[in-house]
């Protein structure tokens, strides 16, 4: 297994379980299940025990490995410099070894199979991909400045489609020149890579790169931070180099082009940092710039924010595989309770997966009457002139 030579260096001190301000457990899987096995250190030691022959594989072992959401809190908080940079790579390598050995939880197998067969985890045809944009007037990408890349959730999930439409609408109002693809693209592959199915990721990435290159794409706006991560950080090694940015990054500098009301509604907003925009790509400010620029709105922070943000539990394929679902201890339910404690009436998100995860959690927690989960541009739209 790749990186097996460093497994023994994990001391299992537990810094990885917490945020830097120690307020609460910040590892989603450990929060959900609470056994030491589900902590980053537990996984390291289990992998070492497995490779040493002290422990054999099992369904539970596989679930422990694949319940990691790749949120990156452990990388941020581990006490050992340099070593910590490799933590997520170790877990991915572990899952890769499990995949190679055929030890895969059923939901993970189903997720990968659908992507392999259909290019997306919904098992739907590619021609349905652009349906989110029906009657919006978004042109197919030709010679516009930007390609707007919409991930699987934005393309196929009902709530994701609403978000994709909202973002496209605001991009149009901000006067940004962009076009979209017509279904020839496939999944960005980000979470496939995190799961450890590297060959499938490379196949997906190469298909997308081929499409991008055929159309002469240079600049890409992504709906999902997961897509941003894949395109910006992993496509270049496969020959696809583009100027990629998340839509909040572009809009944060385009607010001057938008007609905002002089005095908008007095919403109290708390922002949930998406892991792949924040910890993985170090941008904590763009969404906040957008929200803080809304006249009449106030932004309040949760105890765990920015590099300490608590993951919604949807990363690493878990949005589809649901391996960190744990009743009231599910990360998304814990997160909406934390958001509600701030007294905010809007929980702002900037990722379609986070939106779906947290919205479902707010309903289960009975919070939907006092805390609405809103995507950032949906909030911006409420502050536009004529809203």
């Amino acid at each position: 297994m790749k990186h097996e030579e460093i497994l023994h260096r994990c001391f299992r001190c537990g810094y990885c379980k917490l945020p830097s301000n120690y307020t609460d457990i910040n590892c989603p899987a450990y929060q959900a299940f609470r056994f030491e096995t589900y902590s980053p250190g537990g996984r390291m030691w289990l992998l070492r025990g497995w490779l040493n022959g002290e422990i054999t594989n099992s369904k539970r072992f596989a679930e422990i490995m694949f319940s990691c959401t790749a949120c990156g809190n452990c990388v941020e908080q581990c006490a050992f410099p340099k070593f910590r940079d490799l933590l997520l790579e170790v877990f991915t390598a572990g899952r890769e070894a499990f995949l190679d050995a055929g030890h895969v939880p059923g939901p993970v197998r189903d997720y990968l199979t659908k992507i392999q067969l259909h290019g997306n985890p919904y098992g739907k045809p590619g021609k349905k991909r652009p349906e989110w944009a029906a009657d919006l007037g978004v042109e197919p990408y030709a010679d516009q400045e930007y390609l707007f890349f919409v991930d699987d959730v934005g393309a196929y999930d009902t709530r994701g489609q609403e978000i994709a439409r909202s973002v496209a609408g605001i991009l149009q109002q901000a006067g940004i020149s962009f076009g979209m693809l017509s279904g020839e693209e496939v999944s960005d592959g980000n979470d496939v890579l995190a799961i450890g199915e590297t060959p499938l990721f490379e196949e997906l990435a190469r298909k997308n790169i081929e499409v991008f290159n055929q159309k002469g794409v240079k600049k890409i706006i992504t709906l999902s931070p997961h897509s941003l991560n894949a395109i910006k950080n992993h496509y270049p090694a496969l020959g696809g180099s583009y100027q990629a940015m998340h839509y909040t990054q572009l809009l944060a500098f385009s607010m001057g082009n938008m007609s905002l009301q002089e005095d908008g509604p007095n919403h109290r907003i708390t922002f949930h940092d998406p892991c792949y925009l924040g910890r993985h790509n170090w941008d904590y400010q763009s969404p906040r710039m957008l929200l803080k620029g809304l006249p009449g709105a106030s932004v309040v922070e949760m105890d765990r924010n920015q590099k300490n943000a608590f993951c919604c539990g949807g990363g690493g394929g878990n949005f589809f595989t649901d391996l960190v679902s744990a009743e009231e201890d599910s990360p998304s339910r814990v997160r909406v309770r934390e958001a509600a404690e701030t007294g905010a009436d809007y929980l702002a998100v900037a990722c379609p997966m986070c939106a779906v995860m947290l919205e479902d959690a707010a309903k289960v927690e009975g919070l939907e009457n006092r805390l609405q989960v809103k995507e950032v541009t949906e909030i911006v739209a409420e502050y536009m002139v004529g809203a």
Partner: protein, 459 residues
Amino acid sequence: MKELIDRLKKIVGDRFVSEAPEERYIYSMDMGTMPASAPDLVVMPASTEEVSKIMEAANAHQVPVTPMGGGLVLSGLTRALKGGMILDMKRMNRITEVNPKSRYAVVEGGTSQGMLQAYLKKNHPELKHSVPDAPPIATLAGNVCIHGSGHLSVLGGYHSDMLTGMEVVLPTGEVIRTGSCSVSSDWFGKAPLPDLSGLFMGWAGTTGVVTRLGIKLFPSYRYNDLLIFVCDDAEDMPDVISRLTSTQVAEDMTPWMTPIPEWARGFMHINIAYGAHSKAELTFKRNLLQMSVKAYKDKKTGGFLPMPPPQKNRYMKIPTPDLVRFADVRKGGGFEYVGAIMAIEHFAEAYRAGVEIAEKNEVSYSMGARIVGAGHSMMFFYAYAFNRADQADMARAQKALEETNAATLEMGGIPWKAELPAQQQIIEKMAPDTFALMNRIREALDPNHIMNPGNWERA
């Protein structure tokens, strides 16, 4: 066992009982050198009532119970030496009360140091508790129960001295309270009642399960500073410590001696932390500390180390991750230490013994101490790093630890949170009637011998 597991699942819920090989493997060991010893199952209670029912079930089935907090003791005290169940307490992590006027907090048995630290910073910034150098996931109850010490130990003594009361589930399932909370709704202290808390501190989890405890809080200062006194003669240290503690202004004093980095080799350093409500008060306290050891400066045999702000800030971080980083000295992920609780006057002897043992066994070492009270005693630690992937290296560290335990007892000290071999060494030196009394107490509390058996027993 199946009948017991079904009963446990009814008590805590299916999700919080596991007999899976994965949990049995991880909970069989801690980060130190003690060999693995697997439990049959792991259980995670969420309330005192659940703990009580678990103990009743364990008695009915005659199954051993090993309570565990953060599991960071390093000396293997939370291994299930005779099988049975590990009671992982970390779901019980609520802070149930903070009394800002009488300065105490009441927390559940699985509450981590870090969570209380964060809670106080947010809700009571004028208060703080004594934080040990353990990682922040370490539990308050675990640290109190092992007589831990921390960043306010010059001020308040061992963490067991800062205890104001306890709620404990006895091995037979009864729930008792010690201290004022046994009579009153307030958890202000142990006086004036018979102090039953001693039945649960230092016993390595063999007398009951702590489900709640009250601990003292202290003023948190706006201005904080750190001085480092340096000298090169270990013989001077008891006098230096005595002089510094006589000022009664330091919150924490931690001598340290390490061969790496090179500039530190051969020198005795003492970090002295203190705080104040105003800059004038801080200056006054600094002057008091500096004046107390002026004789050494005059003789040119000691002085204060100048420190750039980044270095000072690093030393002032509480807890500091630098300590766990010692585990990576040999790129091997392991260290264990002997904490020798002893009188201050043995400092030089303790230092020499540590250097000799480390060099003889060819182990990477770091030594230091935490001064407790106004120089009333110290926890002198000998930390040895090892490579977890190298059995011979681990064996060397283990041998160094055993020799250090023996040397500690020889000097009149006592190994802290002693691992099994050290427990045997202590029992050998203990007054026989004292050990007999310990056994009588345990017999009364735990007639079925189910509480962490194997510990505090003659081999």
